[in-house]
């Protein structure tokens, strides 16, 4: 949240990364890295949600294909099942969020699952694209950072060598 570090990410950098000091660069890298992790987590979450909708859709379709009176085993707990008969194979209760449930036909329920899935897919595409860009930026930052570190080490070594040479000259 420090205003000194650009939170926008490296992909659309306004300041060239080479203009920053190694320390600043490390800060930016950490920021971009955590943004990457966040996006990756979001992407995973959306994929899980999509899996839920696709399972629901398949269940609804299986229900639509069955006849009333079809014997079922209903799980009361994980290990206790009770026998039951299907009373209605055409209508289901749809949980549309914030505690609201609506009774709709299987077609409408299936359509709902597909619509939600499609929306999530769009979102997923955007997030994955964002993620790819951020990762690209991250790689660039790391490259520049490594180059800087190597350069500064080389400078140190040179200074040491020069000092030793000077000492040698004095001694000689």
């Amino acid at each position: 949240m420090m205003s000194a570090s650009p939170s926008g990410g490296a992909a659309g950098d306004h300041v060239p990364v080479t203009a920053l000091s190694a320390q600043e660069l490390a800060g930016v890298r950490d920021n971009v890295e955590s943004a990457c992790n966040e996006l990756a987590e979001k992407s995973m979450h959306i994929q899980r949600l999509m899996a839920v909708f696709s399972t629901s859709n398949r269940t609804v379709q299986a229900l639509a294909d069955s006849q009333p009176g079809q014997p079922l085993m209903i799980p009361l707990t994980e290990s206790l099942y009770v026998p039951a008969k299907l009373a209605d194979s055409e209508r289901v209760l749809l949980n549309i969020g914030t505690g609201y449930f609506v009774q709709v036909g299987t077609d409408a329920a299936s359509d709902y699952c597909r619509r939600r899935s499609a929306k999530l897919e769009d979102l997923l595409k955007n997030i994955n694209q964002d993620l790819a860009e951020k990762r690209n930026g991250l790689a660039q930052i790391e490259e520049v950072l490594n180059a800087k570190i190597i350069a500064s080490r080389r400078q140190e070594q040179q200074q040491q060598q020069q000092q030793q040479q000077r000492k040698a000259v004095k001694a000689g």
Partner: protein
């Protein structure tokens, strides 16, 4: 410890406090945003139903039958409330941001003064 140093410490504390508050309120905003999105989705779904549709609301462990128009009105009201809260939180965020920036500038000024007479360190 010099007077300047004490003043700097005080400003730093104030700045951190402002940052903490800002963080808290940004979190609240995300939460409101999420609620707004969810209610929007519910509203869209309710709008697709025909008038004869059965709507239930989960109250505690029970599903209670609701009138569709009433449900729409309730979700609409909820949405309005959330939008209002979002506006309120947004203006709060702005105030806190300005405060944090002002503190930061003050800190920089104090630091410069602290470094100035000694000739920097």
């Amino acid at each position: 410890m010099s007077d300047l140093q004490r003043q700097l410490d005080r400003e730093m504390d104030a700045f951190r406090e402002a940052q903490r508050e800002l963080q808290k309120i940004v979190q609240a905003r995300t939460q409101l945003e999420r609620q707004s999105n969810e209610n929007d989705l519910v509203m869209q779904e309710l709008a697709r139903l025909d008038d004869s549709a059965n709507v239930f609301k989960l109250i505690g462990p029970a599903l209670i039958k609701q009138d569709l128009t009433e449900a729409k009105a309730n979700v609409g009201k909820r949405l309005d409330f959330i939008k209002g809260e979002l506006g309120r939180v947004d203006s709060q965020i702005k105030v806190l941001q300005d405060k944090a920036v002002a503190r930061q500038q003050e800190i920089m000024k104090l630091r410069q003064r602290a470094a100035g007479p000694v000739g920097g360190n």
